[in-house]
């Protein structure tokens, strides 16, 4: 832009009570329309991402949910590690990484909460209107939120999972625990982190669809826990197949597959849970995009 450095007039009037008319250039000079000294920029996704990053880090609820997440993952992981190493001299050739599961399962609730809040809280406060006025491309807003949240959730989970993994390996040294292979390390750190970040992004999409924080959080926590709980009480033999499917595809079981611990021998294995979650998240985001375009803000 070749525009000269803008002479910002407002700086001359530090006190709002001073009539702003005096602070601006002499009125009446132009009636053909005002031209701002601020350079005009074509905005793109990058700007929206910068904006969403500022938003997510400038509210305390982010710090709280992530703080509790770290506390749960590291705290529970540490406790489990100490208990197992203190009481059980023989780990039976199990991978020590699998002890991280409990903390991450509970931590998942924080990821869900933060994901929902990223979108739904803007509807509760009316901030969404301000956001959409600043960025009328609604799809771009949702995309920016999803990118920022996904990366944040992934990085935080990865750091915690890796830390707790090393801790468990160190604690169980000499307890006849299995030395985790490269792939086991990959699944227990990057894999589970991708999975949790996707679960959070799914919640973000649900938050955008439901537009109500408490409602969306309830739905997501229900989706995580209900299948497993329902399956536990399916005693009728005619429902055995349904029970089996509910067990196998419940989110806690899918998470434990990253540690090669499954409730059953059949069902998803290896990296399958990640692909399942990827498809579910993509579908939810697609729905959220379509509704966002269709509805009034």
């Amino acid at each position: 832009m070749s525009t000269p450095p803008p002479p910002m007039p407002q700086t001359a009037a530090p006190d709002w009570q001073a009539a702003p008319g005096a602070a601006y250039p002499a009125p009446g000079s132009t009636h053909s329309g005002y031209h701002s000294p601020i350079p005009v920029v074509r905005t793109h996704l990058g700007h929206a991402i910068a904006s969403e990053w500022t938003k997510i880090k400038s509210v305390r609820s982010t710090m709280w949910t992530l703080g509790v997440f770290v506390l749960l993952v590291v705290g529970i992981g540490l406790l489990t590690g100490l208990v197992v190493s203190g009481s059980d001299p023989d780990a039976g050739g199990e991978s020590p990484l699998s002890l991280g599961f409990f903390g991450l399962l509970l931590g998942g609730m924080c990821v869900i909460t933060l994901g929902v809040l990223t979108t739904a809280s803007e509807y509760g406060t009316g901030m969404i209107r301000t956001t959409m006025v600043a960025c009328p491309s609604r799809g771009r807003v949702l995309a920016a939120k999803a990118v920022v949240f996904f990366l944040l959730a992934f990085v935080v989970t990865l750091v915690c999972a890796t830390l707790i993994g090393f801790l468990h390996v160190a604690l169980l040294e000499g307890h006849n625990a299995k030395e985790p292979s490269g792939e086991e390390w990959l699944k227990g750190t990057v894999g589970i982190s991708l999975y949790l970040a996707l679960l959070g992004t799914l919640s973000l999409a649900v938050g955008s669809i439901i537009r109500h924080s408490a409602g969306a959080i309830t739905i997501m926590i229900g989706a995580v826990l209900a299948p497993l709980v329902i399956a536990l009480f399916m005693f009728s033999s005619s429902l055995q197949d349904v029970q089996q499917a509910l067990f196998e595809y419940s989110i806690p079981n899918q998470m434990s597959i990253f540690y090669a611990n499954s409730l059953s021998e059949s069902g998803p294995s290896g990296w399958d849970p990640l692909w399942i979650m990827l498809v579910a998240t993509a579908a939810a985001l697609g729905g959220a995009f379509a509704l966002l375009e269709k509805r009034d803000v």
């Binding site: 702003p20 601006y24 329309g33 005002y34 701002s36 009316g126 209107r129």
Partner: protein, 317 residues
């Protein structure tokens, strides 16, 4: 310049905005007036692309809002709902808006200064009073130094000093050649700031006129007469060729400023007068009459009315 063409918004059966067509021009303050629920906020949301019109079109300098590449440097808007996350500080609220439009960071400090919130910039918005929230909204509107400004009920919650400040601000913004579009349900407020007036009621356009013209038509003067001998007074006035309109509370109203003449007439006929006073109809009354008739008309007829000619129906008083 904002151009509305047959803009309509329907919520199920209810028509919130009904075929609005008018233009908001640069360089002046355009007041957007209507009683509560007239459709002002809905219209403003449609201008900003937040609500999709059921029919019709609205363009900003020939472009739809969602096609603007640099929306905040084009339009700044203060919407009725504050639209601020209560847990975020004023500074971060403005910063995230600035970033989404690549507006330089120093501009955040400048607008905070302009609205007088520098001292509380790092405080959370939830602790703000109504007036402070309103100022934060105005800061957000000014952030991009836009050529069009829209304010939805900007003086709500402001103290007298703040009201004076926002009036001066709007006038100076318009004087710089910007388009300023302000909604209000208070005629008296508009009379002090607006150069042009758009009045709606029940979502329909009732008037699109300059403020000067509105005042000229509405500063109707009349004489109020009260007498215990009302019937005789009416006769006397009638014989003198003066039309008197009965007011609800037992007094008579005579158009024009003929107080002396009526007094002399009464004396000549030995009539007792309890009151004889020159009156000036307020703009607020004129506005109420204008909008009340639209409501009344609406209640009696289901058929769409032909567009009323400005000033046709309310001058009878």
């Amino acid at each position: 310049m904002i151009e509305l063409e047959g803009l309509t918004k329907r919520y199920g059966e209810k028509v919130a905005v009904d075929r609005l067509t008018f233009t908001v021009r640069p360089g002046i303050v355009t007041g957007f007036l209507g009683p509560n629920g007239a459709g002002k906020s809905t219209t403003m949301r449609m201008i900003l692309g937040l609500d999709r019109p059921t029919a019709g079109d609205v363009r900003i300098d020939g472009t739809h809002y969602d096609r603007l590449k640099d929306p905040l440097t084009y339009i700044g808007a203060l919407l009725e709902a504050k639209g601020v996350h209560p847990g975020r500080s004023a500074y971060h609220h403005l910063l995230c808006l600035a970033q989404s439009n690549k507006i330089p960071r120093r501009r955040v400090h400048e607008v905070l200064d302009t609205v007088g919130l520098t001292a509380v910039a790092r405080k959370k918005a939830k602790g703000f009073s109504l007036g402070m929230g309103q100022r934060l909204g105005i800061a957000a509107a000014l952030l991009g130094d836009p050529r069009i400004l829209m304010f939805d009920e900007p003086v709500n919650g402001l103290d007298p000093e703040g009201i004076h400040w926002i009036r001066t601000l709007m006038k100076s913004l318009a004087a710089q050649g910007r388009t300023v579009f302000v909604s209000s349900h208070l005629m008296s407020e508009m009379a002090l700031t607006a150069d042009h007036l758009v009045v709606i009621g029940q979502g329909r356009l009732l008037a699109d006129t300059s403020m000067a013209e509105f005042i000229e038509h509405n500063s109707r003067s009349y004489v109020r007469v009260r007498s215990p001998q009302r019937e005789r007074l009416l006769d006397v006035l009638h014989q003198a060729g003066i039309t008197a309109v009965e007011n609800g509370n037992g007094s008579l109203e005579v158009d024009g400023s003929k107080a002396e003449y009526i007094g002399e007439l009464a004396a000549r006929n030995q009539l007792v007068l309890h009151e004889l006073s020159s009156q000036q109809a307020s703009l607020e009354e004129a506005f109420m009459r204008l909008t009340a008739e639209s409501v009344e008309y609406h209640a009696h007829s289901g058929a769409p009315e032909p567009r009323q000619q400005w000033g046709d129906d309310w001058r009878r008083g």
